[in-house]
């Protein structure tokens, strides 16, 4: 047992099946509970923390699947950057108040949403269960067969990214640049900040009411 655990933690491939199954079982429970927590939490901050739990469990599952680099990237990018970004926006805007989950603005919307979700789940599970071991078809090792060593995994991923998928990688860089520029443009504070639903002020019609000075001062 001890040797199997060390093998798993050093990332040289889980040889003992029971350890792999046990790790999967624990992480599966955390993933599902975290996912339910994201959906059912009334407070958005609690949703974000549940999301962190789910993402960590998925990182452990990546380790279990011998994808060591992806496990590290998952923790760094998702929990380190994306969830923190979401939490920053939450705190910046001050919308960390509880949502009202009791009232249902569209009647029977939740019922239909759950039905659609169950249908989706049933369809995917039917493919997996009926298909069994033939659920996944395709040519084995189209690009390169997996190697199960930890260092080799990083080596192999980098080699594939910069040879076979180098064009996609360049496009990806363009996508990230566009996303950053788009975020800057979207969140730039416009010069004429005024809520749109408000009616036009009387200044445009030539009148000068007394409240103009305070109105200007607010800007």
């Amino acid at each position: 047992m001890i040797t199997a655990t060390t093998v798993t933690t050093t990332g040289t491939g889980a040889t003992d099946m029971s350890v792999e199954v046990a790790v999967f079982a624990v992480c599966a429970v955390i993933v599902i509970l975290g996912g339910l927590g994201v959906v059912l939490s009334r407070n958005p901050v609690h949703s974000a923390l549940s999301l962190v739990a789910t993402l960590f469990a998925i990182a452990v599952l990546f380790l279990n699947l011998n994808a060591q680099l992806l496990a590290a990237v998952q923790v760094i990018v998702y929990t380190g950057a994306i969830v923190v970004l979401i939490l920053f926006v939450m705190m910046l805007l001050g919308i960390d108040t509880d949502d009202d989950l009791e009232t249902e603005p569209l009647v029977t919307q939740r019922l239909f949403a759950v039905i659609v979700g169950l249908f989706l789940l049933g369809a995917i599970l039917a493919v997996i269960i009926i298909g069994g071991n033939d659920a996944v078809t395709g040519a084995h090792s189209v690009t390169q067969a997996l190697v199960t060593d930890g260092y080799q995994n990083i080596n192999q991923l980098g080699r594939q990214l910069f040879t076979t998928y180098v064009f996609a990688l360049e496009i990806t860089a363009g996508l990230l640049t566009i996303a950053v520029v788009g975020a800057v443009v979207l969140s730039r504070r416009p010069k004429d900040v005024q809520p749109i639903p408000e009616p036009e002020s009387m200044i445009d019609q030539g009148d000068e009411p007394l409240s103009v000075t305070t109105d200007e001062g607010a800007h």
């Binding site: 959906v39 949403a113 659609v116 690009t143 443009v185 749109i196």
Partner: protein, 103 residues
Amino acid sequence: MDGQNLDLAYLSLSAILFAIGGVGLLIRRNPLVMIMCVELMLNAVNLTFVTFGKMLNDISGQVIVFFVLVVAASEVVVGLGLVVAVARRRPDADADDLRLLRG
């Protein structure tokens, strides 16, 4: 449980996670929670890709996850930019208030 069944268990787990994220996306109205639900669905897909890569003994399943990660990051950045832009004008807006595609 042998290796093949464990692979199928991974696929089933990601199917469950995908369904949870989809239902959450449909029933929640807070735009930030909706973004988080999209992240759940993307993570389910990532798990599926890695499992497929293991089942087919192919490294491409793990390479694709990188591209999904980049798309997820871009989606979050643009989505949060939209949330900030909308919340500046209407602080308590939810997804139902934004059906006109204008502030």
